[in-house]
């Protein structure tokens, strides 16, 4: 179970900025257990956004947003709604935001911060992707996490160490910032890279005891025969 918490509404509205038409995507996996997802959460959030003058073009909940094949098949019937949206707001851990960003031609804003891995990890298991750092900025970086994709954890762009788009630490490893550049170029949003990103809040890397527990925490305390 991957644990997530809501980003403050104010931060989400700042991220959405001038974008008016928002498509909501939710993960039916871990967020359901962490009370940061599910039908009610998503429809409540739709109301909040509408109160702020936004139009919600649609809501789509998918069992596992970290499962790319599943996303591909489920977005097909909703492609018009997505196409007519300015951006997508994603209720999932960092893996889900990265999976949706890699498939859609839109900026995908994280609505949640990923705080810990709690129990088992999600389904996008091929490579390291989410640092569970509680500071999600995936919408600024083309849906690719600069904390896991770049060994120097650079937030404001590449260093000068790459050669042939590979990383100075390992010539087999893609430069994370080149990946970020390429994905933002693909969706025509390179201007995202111009914005200054302040240093991350490392205090959030130390989640409170409460944030480390799922609603199933009591099971760990019981003597189960």
């Amino acid at each position: 179970m991957i644990l997530t918490e809501f980003k403050p509404l104010k931060e989400i509205l700042e991220k959405l900025g001038e974008e008016k038409k928002i498509f909501i995507m939710g993960c039916g996996g871990c967020p359901e257990g962490a009370d940061t997802g599910g039908k009610k959460v998503l429809s409540d959030f739709k109301e909040k956004l509408e109160k702020e003058g936004k139009t919600v073009t649609g809501i789509l909940e998918i069992d596992f947003l970290c499962q790319k094949a599943l996303i591909r098949s489920r977005i097909k019937p909703r492609s018009e709604e997505i196409k007519n949206s300015d951006s997508v707001l994603v209720f999932s851990c960092g893996l889900g935001v990265q999976a949706t960003s890699s498939i859609l031609d839109k900026i995908c804003h994280p609505a949640l911060n990923t705080t810990t891995f709690g129990g088992i990890t999600g389904m996008w298991q091929g490579t390291e992707r989410c640092d569970t750092c509680g500071n999600c900025i995936l919408d600024q970086t083309g849906g690719i996490c600069p904390y896991t994709a770049c060994p120097k954890k650079l937030e404001n762009g590449a260093c000068a160490g790459q050669s042939n788009d590979k990383c100075e630490t390992d010539l087999e490893r893609d430069c994370g910032w080149v990946l970020i550049y390429n994905n933002l170029k693909r969706i025509g949003k390179l201007d995202r890279l111009e914005k200054f990103i302040p240093p991350r809040d490392y205090a959030k890397l130390l989640p409170t005891a409460d944030l480390r527990k799922t609603r199933l925490w009591a099971l760990d305390e019981e003597e189960i025969l």
Partner: protein, 300 residues
């Protein structure tokens, strides 16, 4: 808060005057001594408008940049304090910056830093709490009289702030990323740039034309490495990220016994070729400091 007169640094005044500037570099020794620094400084004394002091260059543990800058200052020279983000978190970086100011050091060069695993302590924790753009932002905050936590300083420092850029990035994506980041650095207060070492004047010229198109007006100093041998060229081509020595230059070096004369010839030609496009040169002599005067003879 005490009001401080914001006197410009000597190096900033040089660039302001429009004089073609020369900066050089000192890499502190791996040991508790200062003889080598003093010797190198003597060679640079009448040559350099500013002397960069590297900050554990190539991620190798050495004498510190701040201490070495202080020694240079005591010798009446103009140090440029290189600060990387690799080894210190935001508390230590801010503390070292105000320490530098108190020691009279006015020029700072903000860098990300090489990764730890390329150096001699590959097991060390790579810090990178801030990146180079955020470091410039932090300096700006300190100059406004506040630290990154928003707490007021009893006295505010003031610096002449520089950054680096690589004109020779080898792919479209990495090239564009350099331009984007250069603009971000300027937005956060970078007042001059020193470039990664170049060997191809044409590449540098194209880069300067591009930043001109971007309407970037910040002075740029072209990075020049004194090439000592073909072996060094091949080594850099293979192992030094972002540096490329073209084949004709490698061949020139191969074809001569007199490496020193060839080194001076290559550097002088390069300096002549880039001169019309930039505000100065940053020369990395890597032990051959005594040959710098010959390499820059045409500037006098």
């Amino acid at each position: 808060m005490t009001a401080e007169p914001m006197e410009k640094s000597k190096f900033e005044k040089t660039l302001d005057s429009g004089k073609f500037a020369v900066t050089c570099e000192i890499g502190p020794p791996k040991g508790a001594e200062d003889e080598e620094i003093k010797e190198t400084a003597q060679h640079l004394k009448n040559v350099a408008d500013g002397i960069n002091v590297t900050d554990l260059q190539s991620s190798v543990m050495r004498l510190g940049s701040l201490t070495t800058c202080h020694l240079l200052k005591q010798m009446g020279l103009e140090p440029i304090f290189q600060v990387t983000c690799r080894d210190r978190n935001r508390l230590a970086l801010q503390s070292d910056l105000i320490s530098a100011y108190v020691l009279g050091i006015r020029n700072v060069l903000a860098l990300t830093g090489d990764y730890t695993t390329i150096g001699d302590h590959p097991q060390a924790e790579p810090v990178f709490d801030l990146d180079s753009v955020q470091l410039l932002w932090a300096i700006k905050k300190l100059e406004e009289g506040y630290d990154l936590a928003g707490k007021e300083l009893t006295r505010k420092p003031s610096f002449f702030k520089g950054a680096v850029v690589n004109p020779g990035a080898d792919t479209e994506a990495s090239y564009e990323l350099q331009i984007i980041k250069m603009k971000k650095k300027i937005a956060q207060g970078a007042q001059f740039f020193q470039t990664q070492a170049i060997f191809d004047a044409e590449v540098f010229k194209k880069f300067m034309e591009r930043i001109d198109e971007e309407n970037i007006k910040v002075p740029v100093l072209a990075g020049i490495i004194l090439l000592k041998s073909e072996r060094m060229a091949n080594y850099m081509n293979k192992f030094v990220p972002g540096v490329f020595v073209p084949e004709p230059i490698v061949k020139k070096m191969e074809g001569t016994e007199d490496k020193v004369s060839m080194c001076i010839e290559i550097a002088s030609e390069l300096i002549e070729a880039v001169k019309p496009y930039c505000a100065g040169v940053h020369i990395q002599a890597l032990g051959w400091e005594k040959h710098i005067p010959a390499a820059i003879k045409s500037l006098k």
